[in-house]
Every structure is written in C-alpha cells, then in structure tokens.
Amino acid sequence: MRFYEYEARKIVELAGIPVTEYGFCRTPEEARAAAEKIDGPTVVKSQVLTGGRMKAGGVQFADTPDEAAAHAETILDLEINGHMPRGVLVDPKAEVKQEYYAGVVWDGTAKKPLMLFSDMGGIDIEQVAEEHPDHVGRGHISNLDPVFDFQAKQVIARTGVTGSQLTRATPILARLAELFREKDMLLAEINPLAELTDGRFVALDAHMEMEGEAVGRQAELLREELGIAEDDTRESYEPSDFERRVKEIDASDHRGVIQGKDHNFDGNLGLVIGAGGGSLTLTDAVRSQGGKPANYSEIGGNPSVAKACGLAREVLQKDGVEKIAVMMSIVSNTRVDIVARGVIKACLELGLDPSETIAVFRIPGAWEEEGAKILDYYGVEYYDRSVSLWDAAGRAVEKVQG
C-alpha cells in the first residue's frame, strides 16, 4: 500500500523523527491559512501517488500566503501522469545546508532489511549508487534483535560523514529502521533528509510503502492515526468492472479462489485458467502462438460450481470474447468435474452451445474421469495430461482464429 507524502511524513513523525511544521490542505483557503501560520516563505507541493511532480509543475515556491493560495489553486487542478492530486502540502521553505538520503528496503537474498544512507540526498538513490557508489552506505539489520544505534552509525560513517552530522543523523536512520520493521513497510525513505543552516536534521520528504498482507494488523496506524478509509486501497490502477465483479463472486463463498484481471488485455480468447504458475505459463503459451487473451485469470483451491460458473460467465460476457479456453496444470485439490460443471453451466445460462464456446478443456488430475464424462455429454473435447499445456493453448488459438 502506497502513501501520500503528507501521510508518509506523519508516519515518520510518529516514529520520533523531526519534520518541519507542514500543513495538508484541500483548498486554496486552507493553503493560505497554513502559510500564514508558517509565517515565512513556503513550498506548495502536489499530493499525488506518482513521481515527477517537480518537472510537471507540481511543486511551487511562495513568498506570501496569497501566493501560496494561488499556487495551491493551480496545483489542485493539475493532473500529473494521469493522477489528480488529493491536496497540497504547504511546507516552510527550509534553509538547507546539505541534503542527505536515509532509507530502508528489503534485501530478498539476505532476507533482512537493508539500511541505506547517502550524503548525496535529493536525487534518486539508484542514480547515486550507480554514479557514486562510495557515497552510499549499506548495512543489514536483524529481524529478531533490536535495532542498535551503532548499526545506523556504521552505515552513515561508511559514506565518510563524521562530526555532529554523524551523531545527529544516527538516531534518525535507526528510528527509520525500527519503523520499517514495526509498521511492515516494504520501503521507507527520507529523501531529502536535510541538515538545516542551524544544524538541525529534519525529514523534508518521505516515501513509504506498506506490505499489502499487513494492512489488517496495521489498522491502528492506517485508520486512526492516518484516517485512511478501508476501501481506499491505493491500487496502481482503477479496477475494471470485470475485475470488480470477479472479486465479488470470489467473496461470495469461502470455497476455493478465483481471480480475474483484464487491465491491458483486450483479445478475443477468454481464459478460464489456473492455478498461479499454470496461469502464467498458459498466458505465455497463448500469446507465443499468436493468440490474443481477453483476460488473465486464476482458479485454485477447489472452488464451488457457482464460482467456476461465475468466472466463466464474466469472461464470456466481456466485449470481443468469441470462445473460452479452460486450462490448468495438473490439479490435486481443485476438482476437474466441478470446474467442468461450472463452465458448462455458464455457457447454458448465457444461451451458448458449450461445444462451440469452449475451445479447449485441459485440466488433468483429481476427478478427471467424472469431468471427462460431463464434458463428453455436452460435446466438449477433454484433454488429459498427455496433451501439453503448450499444445492445449495452441489448439485454443487455432479454434478461435478459425
């Protein structure tokens, strides 16, 4: 789950890391009030879940509250990379002496969080790592032991930072690492971490991303501290009607799982496929043989007839779908006969002839004899494990293309 800057700053603040006195505003009037309170030059920043806002004109400087309000008015109407802002953040224009970077990410190979620090802040850390590797300090933290300040100190010292800068930055990186672990983050970044002319260190901008599976147990932070509504899931794109309906069908009973996606799919061959790995393999096999999938889907965990039927119905009702291919890698839990019944029911309910509509049915495994019998009755050819995933996909492509 991604956060807006004003939320990321709040998260950082809650962890005890100093931030400037910022104001999140939804209207130009609120922006004016925030600027008046700051009583000095301000920065007005668009609150969008996308990068490149500086370039797009989403960050503006103001000397007076009137100017801040005027900038807010412009920015609130400015679309950036297809995103409309949720509001603006009004921040005091900081007197910055130097910008640093502090971050924590997962290292999947070490299976531990990795602390990162650089004395070249304000730019992308990947760029710094590539061009100035000696300016990036790294160090793992344990998943079990407490985060010790010295570990953060070592990481910072590796970049050559010393003196009061080292002692002031150390607790900030250590608190960030604790926050990363406690709040189930996938990414926690302060960039820039600014050293002000008066020597203080403050987080001027922050990026946070939370593990999707942890959203439930982080409810207190999300709902109470940040006021994020439960249905505000921050997907990277708006779910389609197809995706929404499949999700509803999946939620309607607890047996098995169906998933459907059609974002950027618009072909004529509907895919009723599974499970995780099988779906990936089959989608590739269809495309590699010239087929045009209308969607991606996953069946798993032995869904009910109603669920299998629901998924097939939704796929069949998508614009441009001519036939469906029902295919899975060998199943041991999901029952072949139940999926067969579901997809045939979907055809019949929509007034379609299963033998014409189901281009291919290739699901070997549990209850396959029963499945084959049902399919045979409706004139649908059944492929067992002797027909490879590749060949089944190829046969489906041939049939839909006539």
Partner: protein, 303 residues
C-alpha cells in the same frame, strides 16, 4: 537416495484439525509417510485419521519419545510465525510452511530463527516436498494415488516456485521415463525459507540426482542468485529452467502482480527476459515449453 526427506522421516502437522490439513494428513499417510502427531491448541486428545492431536509441539515430541524430524505448518497467517518458531524451538529441523499471505516481516523472522538453530524452512505458500516412493510431506501431488501417478522415482531434482507446476513438470519427467529424485515446491512469496541456490548443495550431494529442473517466475533475484551459485561452484548437475510470465515484461504490465505474491517486476534485474539472460550466461538451459524439458534434461545428462 533423496533430498531432505527419506523413508524414515517423521513429521507432525500443525493446524491438523483444519479442513485442508485433514486432507493433507490422509494423503501423506496413504503415501506411507510417517505422520507422528498433530497440533491444534485446545484440541488435545482428538485423533485425525488415527494421528494423535496435541495442544503443543512439546507434547507431540514427548509422546513420540524422541526428536521429530519435520513439521507441516498450515495455520492462519496471523499464527504462522509463532507456530513455526514453536516447532524450531522444540528441535524440529525441517518445517514446511503451507500458509499463504503471511507478511514478509514474519517470514523473515522465522527464517532468521531457523538459520540460528541450523534448521530449514520450505515455503511459505508452498505444497511441500516429495521423495517419490519414500515420503510425501505436504499436499504436493495430491492424494497418494495421484501423487504416485505423477511422481516416479528417478534422477531429476525439481524445484518450483509454483506448487501446481511442480506436479506438471514432474509428470512430464515421469512420462519420459526420467523420474524424480526429490521435488520441492519452494513457494511463491518474495521471501522464502529456501531458494534454488540454497537447496542446490543438497541435490549436489545426492548420488541419485543427475539433473535439476527449475520452474521460475518474474520478481526477485532468486534466479540471479542461482546463476551466481552455479558460476562459483562448478556443479556436476546440468540445470534446465522454465520461465513463466514473459507477458509481464510488456511495459503496460509493470508494477502489476500476477499469480504469486512474489511475482511483481520492480527493478530492472527481475523481469523474465533479464532472468533468462542471466541463467543462460551461467550455462543453464532455458526451455520455451514445459514439454521440451525431458529432452533438454537427457541432453544435459548425456552431454
């Protein structure tokens, strides 16, 4: 021989009274696996297909009268970390974590704990492992008769990020007369207990195993890690890889996840195309189709 498990392997099932766990226990018993106990807190005194149920792992070990080799953990995500560490704290050294949707931080915690005590975790979000004819630990391959049909004893070690594809690939190897030494469903999450590279030394040491087949997906650096391992270790085993999810390389699919939780292209190193290039550089054969695997394996063994 086999890898990690054999005919003598004893294990328990944590969460044994759950619907899926009851089926899994039946399947493993039918296959001849030694399921010596089950744990569900508060259900002590019951039996599941003749297997005694206990409140704690400690009680299960006590009842068995000696160390237990393994555990299959299938409890809800919020309880998994504690269940796994309970097993490890009671001397169990091989834990298969079936549960999916466990937060990454919890997985990392249990894996670090396992490292400290010298134990091994397979999964999470996996179907377990099978040494054909000897032991089935987890739901892998399904009911005993189905598992026997897809998995015949043989010379190929299989490691797969997808549980279902473990069986699909093994069935292909069985049909081709090559068979399987041990097949491991390693799990589909971003962080897992045992990666390809971490399991390679076990296959390397197994005299029965003559070749390795892996099933991979986009996301993560597990394949790059395997390529590095192969380059550094001069392995005797030819490796054949199949990479699914090439369609995710399309620009418009970036940032979307399909299939497993770990399947999301985030950096430049973790797309299907990048991974294929890396594997090939290390001398690993990458096939386009599952049905090409047996010939590629034979070529690797003979070549």
């Amino acid at each position: 021989m086999s890898v990690l498990i054999d005919a003598d392997t004893t294990f328990i099932v944590q969460g044994i009274t759950g619907r899926e766990a009851v089926n899994l226990t039946r399947e493993c018993l039918d296959y001849g696996s030694k399921v010596v106990g089950g744990v569900t807190p508060g259900r002590k005194g019951r039996e599941v297909h003749g297997v005694p149920v206990f409140d704690t792992v400690e009680q299960a070990v006590e009842n068995h009268g000696g160390p237990i080799d393994g555990s299959v953990v299938t409890v809800p995500p919020g309880f998994t970390k504690d269940a796994v560490i309970e097993a490890l704290a009671n001397g169990i050294r091989l834990v298969v974590v079936v549960t999916e949707r466990i937060p990454r931080g919890d997985v990392a915690e249990m894996v670090e704990y396992a490292d400290r005590v010298g134990a091994r975790i397979i999964g999470p979000n996996c179907l377990g492992l099978i040494a054909p004819g000897l032991c089935k630990m987890g739901g892998i391959g399904g009911p005993a008769a189905d598992a026997a049909k897809a998995y015949e004893p043989g010379v190929v070690g299989v490691m797969s990020r997808s549980g279902g594809m473990t069986t699909e690939i093994s069935s292909t190897l069985t049909a081709a007369g090559l068979g399987v030494s041990t097949a491991i469903s390693i799990g589909g999450d971003a962080i897992i207990g045992s990666t390809y590279a971490e399991l390679m030394p076990f296959f390397e040491a197994d005299q029965e195993t003559q070749a390795i087949v892996i099933y991979s997906e986009p996301g993560g650096r597990m394949e790059a890690q395997l390529a590095e391992w192969v380059a550094a270790n001069n392995s005797r085993l030819p490796i054949v890889a199949f990479m699914a999810g090439k369609f995710m390389d399309d620009e418009e699919m970036k940032g979307m996840s399909f299939g497993h939780a770990g399947t999301i292209v985030e950096g430049k190193e973790d797309s299907a195309t990048e991974k294929i290039a890396r594997l090939q550089e290390a001398g690993i054969t990458v096939v386009e189709r599952i049905d090409e695997i047996p010939d590629a394996v034979k070529e690797g063994i003979d070549g």
